[in-house]
């Protein structure tokens, strides 16, 4: 047990920190407003710069344009970009979900076609999983894919899709066997978002902005070779995607929370905090450290044995609730200024925005209820509720 960076990790961190200092445009610093708040050309250029410097897809194999680096480098990368308040690579869905799924289930041709443009930010991906009638219960998807000769015809509606308004490709879970139900008869497709019949409508959310979208598919033709995995095996492929969505996220979430708590401390120093508020600040700081070292434990286990420890499954659950508490505490510290917004509020409305945005944290990427089911059933081994 040694919780310090190894000399090699310290060198990587120092080099990355210097690179960020040199290359992060001032206009992007502190820009953590989510998918709807950025300037697309600027974000693409930033992502390209990350790619050119070798920081995109650090753990991906070299043959697909990645760095073949250890997981610890990815963890350090996520920590450092959060500490520098640099935005992530624009290809959030491609890097975190589509890419790993293609690597696990894709044909060689699919890997050659799709992986490199994800890293270089030439192509952006979105996710078509949830539907109006299939949220937490993904097995209820009704978007259909009918095989017609050498292509599928896709009809249906997807929802809560970040980046869909600028995406080139979509990872889409469809029902290909109309006679099937639940987990059987699903097929996982790679869909060209520029194909005729694809329509994207922004969804305005609680913050007033539109980070998510609805996607409508009307008679969209998808070549049969765009199946990922096997026809009818879409559920298994989708589980790989969700494993990655929840699995590789821990360090990014921890680093984001670290930035929040640093800002919370600065806010308390600036505006003052009473004894009860100080108690809560100390509690949130403690829980952040607990989350950080829980991720470290899980990562160490992963590096040593290839299997992440069970403690890793709680990162998103802990982070989402902590972020909600922290942002509400910040509003409390703002006192009578708390109801103000945007330019009329202190600090440009940062906390008002963060507090509203945080409400989604316990819903997106697996609701807290679903995550508790997963912990109860898969980690604790309690009897299955469904």
């Amino acid at each position: 047990m040694d919780l310090r960076d190894t000399p090699e990790e310290a060198a990587f961190r120092a080099e990355l920190r210097a690179w960020l200092e040199e290359n992060l445009p001032g206009s992007l610093r502190g820009h953590r407003g989510g998918a709807a708040r950025f300037d697309e050309p600027e974000m693409r250029a930033w992502s390209r710069a990350l790619y050119d410097a070798g920081y995109a897809g650090l753990t991906w194999p070299k043959e697909y344009g990645g760095g073949s680096a250890p997981y610890t480098h990815q963890a350090i990368f996520l920590e450092e970009i959060a500490r520098a308040e640099a935005p992530p690579h624009i290809g959030v869905i491609g890097l975190g979900m589509a890419g790993p799924t293609i690597m696990a289930h894709g044909s060689e041709a699919q890997k050659q076609r799709h992986l490199a443009p994800i890293l270089s930010a030439e192509e952006i991906w979105c996710q078509g999983f949830s539907e109006p009638g299939a949220g937490s219960d993904l097995a209820g998807v009704r978007t259909t894919a009918r095989l017609d000769g050498d292509h599928f015809v896709v009809d249906g509606q997807k929802v809560w899709s970040s980046f869909a308004h600028i995406a080139d490709w979509c990872i889409l879970v469809t029902r290909s066997d109309p006679e099937s139900s639940r987990h059987a008869g699903l097929t996982y497709l790679i869909v060209d978002m520029h194909a005729p019949g694809v329509e994207v409508r922004p969804l305005r959310q609680i913050t007033g902005e539109a980070e998510f979208n609805e996607i409508f598919f009307t008679g969209v033709e998808v070549p049969a070779e765009n199946v990922l995995g096997e026809i009818g095996e879409g559920w298994q492929v989708a589980m790989t995607t969700l494993l990655h969505e929840r699995g590789t996220l821990g360090f990014a979430l921890q680093a984001a929370l670290e930035v929040q708590i640093r800002k919370l401390v600065a806010l308390a120093q600036d505006r003052g905090a009473d004894a009860l508020q100080r108690d809560r600040i100390a509690h949130e700081w403690s829980e952040l450290q607990a989350l950080r070292f829980t991720n470290a434990r899980s990562l160490s286990q992963l590096v040593k044995t290839g299997i992440p420890g069970p403690e890793g499954s709680i990162a998103k659950l802990v982070w989402s609730e902590a972020n909600q508490r922290v942002t509400k505490l910040a509003l409390e510290l703002l006192g009578p200024d708390a109801p103000l917004a945007d330019g009329n509020a202190p600090y440009g409305g940062y906390w008002q925005y963060q507090q509203l945005r945080s409400r989604g944290n316990t819903i997106e990427a697996g609701t807290s209820e679903i995550l508790r089911n997963i912990v109860a059933e898969r980690v604790l081994g309690l009897p299955k509720s469904r």
Binding site: R13, R262, A282, H283, P346, Y347, E377
Partner: protein, 322 residues
């Protein structure tokens, strides 16, 4: 960065868990025979020359077993104050100690010798009368000392800071062991007990609180092991890490025990079930030395008024803009 135990440390844990399951009332000399009392004592004083990490493993297991004995008071509270010859006696199992940090002294029923703080030094107290008091946790009574004379000067009182950190972390680790055991009982029970024709673990009213209890237990363990590592290498974050671990893990263990009792229903409320012993140990640990509220006040002081050293010397951003 490596946050795993060595195979030898894992082996020590397995040995400790198995031994304490078979010998819940193990005596001080039995613990010494296993080498536990001399873990961090130098080899030329008869110890194993290891670190606080190995002691951390033992604290966690002793907590899990709600062990009754002077290990906490000797190893966490007194050892840093002992000169070499007295350390050798501890390693050999010939002596156990406690340190009077206040009027209520821990493990006074089992510790053979007593140290006290006087002025700028720590001394052995000789010839004192001991009154053992009733405590809700019968496995860890408190006592008061009457009379007696200061004897040998053991150490400068400068060592008290280290002692406090070790004690805070030891209690945190004990509570991690307590929480884990209480959770295991609840998981086992929820997987067997049937009501309304189903095993109760199926109901989310049961399973979600248990998922939260698991979460609290794991967060506690991460904090406590981090704090133990900080103590073992004398990291500059050791004071805040120890405070955070004690506050968080000791409160969490109380909450996890309460969840476990609730999941057990009436059985969990009986004297017959072992849960109440774990619960009482959790409560004892939470109240000894400093409460969570006091420790968080210290942490807030360091965060807001002082300086908390950063592990990786990250640049601190004071910008507030979004």
């Amino acid at each position: 960065m490596d946050f795993t135990f060595t195979p030898e440390q894992e082996e020590l844990r397995e040995q400790a868990r198995a031994f304490l399951a078979d010998h819940p009332e193990a005596s001080w000399s039995e613990l010494a025979e296993l080498g536990w009392t001399g873990v961090s004592i130098a080899e030329d004083q008869g110890g194993a020359g290891l670190t606080f990490i190995e002691e951390a493993v033992i604290f966690e297991e002793l907590g899990r077993a709600a062990h009754h004995g002077p290990y906490f008071s000797t190893i966490a509270l007194t050892l840093p104050a002992l000169p070499d010859d007295l350390r050798a006696e501890v390693a050999a199992g010939e002596a156990s100690w406690t340190l009077a940090l206040g009027p209520l002294v821990s493990d006074l029923d089992t510790a053979e010798r007593v140290a006290i703080i006087g002025g700028d030094g720590i001394y052995e107290l000789e010839g004192a009368q001991r009154d053992i008091l009733d405590t809700t946790d019968e496995s860890r009574p408190l006592g008061v000392l009457r009379g007696g004379e200061p004897g040998r000067r053991l150490a400068d009182s400068g060592v008290l800071e280290e002692i406090r950190r070790r004690a805070l972390v030891a209690l945190a680790l004990e509570s991690c062991g307590v929480a884990r055991r209480a959770l295991e009982y609840a998981i086992e029970y929820a997987g067997q007990r049937e009501q309304f024709g189903k095993r109760i673990g199926i109901y989310q009213a049961i399973s979600h609180p248990l998922a939260d209890a698991f979460t609290k237990a794991e967060l506690s363990r991460s904090l406590s092991l981090w704090a133990a590592w900080c103590v073992s290498v004398d990291d500059e974050q050791a004071p805040v890490a120890a405070a955070a671990a004690k506050a968080y893990a000791c409160e969490a263990a109380v909450a996890v025990c309460e969840t476990s009792i609730q999941v057990h229903g009436g059985i969990g409320f009986t004297w017959e079930h072992v849960l109440h012993r774990l619960y009482k140990r959790a409560l004892w640990n939470d109240s000894f030395l400093a409460s969570g509220t006091q420790l968080r006040a210290e942490i807030a002081g360091a965060l807001l008024d002082g300086q908390v050293p950063e592990a990786q010397q990250a640049p601190v951003s004071v910008t507030q803009g979004g």
